[in-house]
Amino acid sequence: MIIDGRKVEKNIKIDADVVIIGSGAGGAPAAYRLAKNGKKVVVVEEGGHFTKNVFNGDSYEMVKLMYRDAGSVLTLGNTGILLPLGRTLGGTTTINSGTMFRTPNEVIDEWRRDYGIKTITSDLLKPYFEEVEEITHTMEVPWELMGRNNQLFAEGAQKLGLHGFPLKRNMKDCKGSGVCPFGCPEDAKQAMHVTYIPRSEQYGAIYYTYAHAEKIIIKNSRAIGIKGHFMKGKYGVEKSIYTFEIRATVVIVSAGAIYTPVILKRNGIGRHNNMVGKNLRIHPAAKVMGYFDEELSSWYGIPQAYCVDEFADEWIIFEGFWLPPSMLSIALPSFGKDIKKMMLDYNHLAGFGIMVHDSSSGMVKVAGETPLLFYNMNKEDLEKFRKAIRIASEVYFAAGAKKIYPPIFSLESINSPSQLSKIDTIKLKPDMLELSAFHPMGTARMGSDPKEAVVNEELETFDVNNLFVIDASIFPTSLGVNPQESIMAFSSYAADRIIARWDSLSR
């Protein structure tokens, strides 16, 4: 059952077995598994419930409905990075690109080696990945659904002998509508709102949308419920006078790596080591664009369909992307009438994304209820971008581009391969890169040492019993690959641990 919080007109008090804050990649799989096991699960989600009935491909409208702060979340520091987040049933999965990767073995090894994490192994996670992939219909993108934008990069990479492959995505009957990040008009993308959430409803899970959780009720160092208020208004961003209180044996915070620390900090959790909000990793990303003589219709096909991983061991990967005009307009290197001119070339533009497995890190601070994000890019990551921009530009020239638009301030365009050395020689600073990021992680990290970590290997907080964090916050490092499948697998695993410990948790 999904209840629209804007329509609730009284204060409510409920008893449940498990209450979950947030319905994204972290919250929904746990809700499903726990409900299937007979637990009474209630999920509160601050955003609204939208499906293909609403998704109309109009990026501007969809951003207002489903993106946190209308897509204006930014990090501050030695550069500014746009960090879009979902605020909708299904969390960011409803507005993401659908790409699926298992956690790389090397990353799990690193956690064991450097963070003392012993129980989490590739073997332990394997059945969880398999189940996630089955439920979300994870499959490789067929060449014909890729769209010219991805095909061109693939062709260029092949000419240069770079290793690449079609990405795996969660999808069923995809028609290549090309607007994944704005809600799939066919609901072909198998985000939480079409997979885990309806499955959990079948087992009785209840979802309150436009319900903002504020307080974790703690008694004798044990979480016993949450309190919050409903939202009102067309966009559900104004506070309603009606409140909720949900008492439960287990409280799970799955508000994502930016808002989970807000909730934990505001409730005084994690004070013992001050680690909540620290260690923010984001996989900073940039785009390289190419101008081609041919008409590309880059808006057709799956925007994120191909990956070049030749340099993955240098912590750089390339993945497709495409942006509708409304979004691209703020990411062009021009001004005034020149933006208009460039926009007239829209049909000749191709773009490909660079994603860096970051060694830089940042933090989430809290001002009132608002997170303030700080992130400084270090020299190492900056140089990764230099290298990656150069490679992506070479790939585009190999694919026949006439001109490249690198994401570097003061280097508006590169008109021939002979000018590529400009990328090598430019005195680069982080604030010269035009950056965005889509994968916040690490702000309530898991570990074996209570002095260093926020949650243990079962994702229960060290500070408060029966309080679990299940979302992107728990990763000790960045993953180097898109994180949603890892989050879903960890969510299922943590739910199993809760089920296994149920008797002691309810004592």
């Binding site: 009935n53 491909g57 409208e61 509508s177 961003v237 409304s326 001004f335 049909n347």
Partner: protein, 144 residues
């Protein structure tokens, strides 16, 4: 400006006047895509945006617009609010900001253009001019 006299929650007074003054230089008339900017609709959208971003960012954006309108011109030795400067002067100032090597100055352009450009480049007649297929999923949008 008549548009700015209309009662709105956030985008009124200097906020409204400054956004319009910036929008005229960020989206100059004619020049390639010959679709005029609907300023009234833009201001309605900015009002919604200011609602959506919440109180802290709203305060910051309003402060930024206040700075642009009242202080920025002084730094360029112009002693009138930005919204009352000629088109050419406003264009020159915004272009200098856009081209600045200092990120926090460039940030002024980046943040204010976020209020304006996505709106303009999402209008159907602009998309038509670009060749981007509008209403591909029209039946869905009607259902919404």
């Amino acid at each position: 400006m008549k548009i700015c006299k209309k009662k709105r929650r956030f985008a009124r007074g200097f906020v409204c006047r400054t956004v319009i003054a910036i929008s005229e230089v960020v989206i100059p008339e004619g020049e390639g895509i010959d679709v005029p900017l609907d300023k009234e609709e833009l201001i309605e959208e900015v009002d919604t945006f200011l609602l959506l971003v919440g109180p802290l960012k709203r305060f910051f954006i309003k402060l930024l617009l206040w700075f642009i309108n009242y202080l920025l011109p002084i730094l360029f030795l112009r002693f009138k609010p930005f919204s009352r400067l000629s088109f050419e002067t406003r264009y020159r100032i915004m272009k200098r900001i856009h081209d600045s090597k200092i990120f926090s100055i460039r940030g002024i352009y980046i943040l204010t253009s976020m209020l304006i450009l996505p709106y303009y480049y999402s209008r159907n007649n602009v998309l038509n001019a670009i060749g981007y297929p509008v209403n591909r999923f029209k039946s869905k949008s009607e259902a919404a």
